[in-house]
Subunit: 117 residues, 6 copies
Amino acid sequence: MSERIKDFHEFRNKMNERILERGNLEIKRFFALDKNAYKTGALTAETKELLGLVASLVLRCNDCITYHLVRCVELGISDEQIYEAYNIGLVVGGSIVIPHLRQAVARMDEIRSQNQD
Amino acid sequence: MSERIKDFHEFRNKMNERILERGNLEIKRFFALDKNAYKTGALTAETKELLGLVASLVLRCNDCITYHLVRCVELGISDEQIYEAYNIGLVVGGSIVIPHLRQAVARMDEIRSQNQD
Amino acid sequence: MSERIKDFHEFRNKMNERILERGNLEIKRFFALDKNAYKTGALTAETKELLGLVASLVLRCNDCITYHLVRCVELGISDEQIYEAYNIGLVVGGSIVIPHLRQAVARMDEIRSQNQD
Amino acid sequence: MSERIKDFHEFRNKMNERILERGNLEIKRFFALDKNAYKTGALTAETKELLGLVASLVLRCNDCITYHLVRCVELGISDEQIYEAYNIGLVVGGSIVIPHLRQAVARMDEIRSQNQD
Amino acid sequence: MSERIKDFHEFRNKMNERILERGNLEIKRFFALDKNAYKTGALTAETKELLGLVASLVLRCNDCITYHLVRCVELGISDEQIYEAYNIGLVVGGSIVIPHLRQAVARMDEIRSQNQD
Amino acid sequence: MSERIKDFHEFRNKMNERILERGNLEIKRFFALDKNAYKTGALTAETKELLGLVASLVLRCNDCITYHLVRCVELGISDEQIYEAYNIGLVVGGSIVIPHLRQAVARMDEIRSQNQD
């Protein structure tokens, strides 16, 4: 099983808990909004994860990209669909997105191999 | 008919022509890639326009938002779907996105009224 | 009385109403979080407006800068304090911030003259 | 003579004076650093203006782009050279740069026509 | 004592020295402006560090966040105050700020534990 | 020989291959445009690498900075010229660029030492 994806989840969960247990109500509410934004509504959860993925690509946030890739795989979004989303992120955001695309491809290998365990 | 949307298209088309007629082959190729990125493939054109819309929101580009809204209306994407995309742009990009959301709502009024003429 | 500041408020209020009346609950909640973030707590409202002002400067959003300047004047923050905040925004964000600093100074004239009416 | 470029310079000069006369020494020093950065040294003034132009394109600041275009024309940089710089800005920064490219081409027309008066 | 914070300071100090010893006068002057921006004036050093912290959060720079957190602790700014500043950074900058918030909380643990040695 | 620069190239080359072998034609075309943008034309390859370097600095992408520094050294661009480019990136992009400047100086040491092997 991939250590890096496991480490990613452990650090993410531990720190989210730390932030939320501090009890700043506004920050808690923001985290709830963030979670709700990706639930099925007029748009499917699949489309919403792809929206989150492309927003993360053009804003160039590796952790956010990894998180949305994990969710895309859980929702059964195909590699072809993900690559078309990558292409939109690349065209809109430019070559500065490429290093994040390389990370995304490396992370995806780990996500797929983790799921085969 | 809405003047501002008409002005937007006129300036956009005129300047695109100017840029392309200059004959820098690389820039022409980039414009072609930009156009192709939104065509139906493994993802539908509808999903791709929403990806372009959210990327434009979080990167805070009014002209890009207007362009994708025009296309979303042409493709029959509903207001409910657009507002859910707005919400993802808002949560990912933060309150700094709000002024662009106000512009988006104002432009959408013009786009809808233009289509009724 | 300054027309531009009046126009700014009218457009802002009208569009906020439009966005909120649409009834997307998540967007309403985000707007509430945005409003609450600047209320006095462990930090004073004055400090929080300055935090909003500098964040808006480095993210280069003219509308957000104008809004926080209006609030800074309402809270009695002095010009000397605002210029020191400008300086931090300038040093952190670089010369790309300067055009927004010019807008800020022009808007501040209107805000001050409006308040003398 | 182009009104918009004239307006641009008038507003820019008037507001720079306003900012500098306020006497915040640190801001004055920053403005001096900004001016000095483009003087001939180990790199020519021409190369430095192109560096400023591309930085302004990828950071998407219309006023900064206009300023560097005025300087590029004063220094005799050719259209072919400027278009190759545009292309680098476009490839690095992505399609989000295109609306600023359209503005740049429109401003350049005014700059050239102004110089013929 | 925390190794990571120690490493952060060592790399930071060593590289700053390297940059400054190269003798590019303009870069030296920029570093001086950066240092001066946070000194008590019309605003307190405490307020200025919080301005630097929120600017660093919304621009999403981990090293800058760590530096301002070290200074906030040295100046006796409370956790409650820092969390309210985090909240403004989160609301203004959006969920893309969250991974940097997680880093900030992890770094703060090290800063506090280092100070207890 | 520097391990980190070697690792950088290995990961970069391996992942570029992975991305290109997937066969999304649009992404392949984007990579070709990216490569072509830096070839000698109306501007020299040297000027173009410096344009890429400054764009990477103000957009704050360490991998992109490293890549352009490797190319700058291959093209014989002097340290004095690179530091003047750094200064423009610093003035335009602000103190938020400084952590990337520190990385750039550390990477440059490795590039120079690698070339002496």
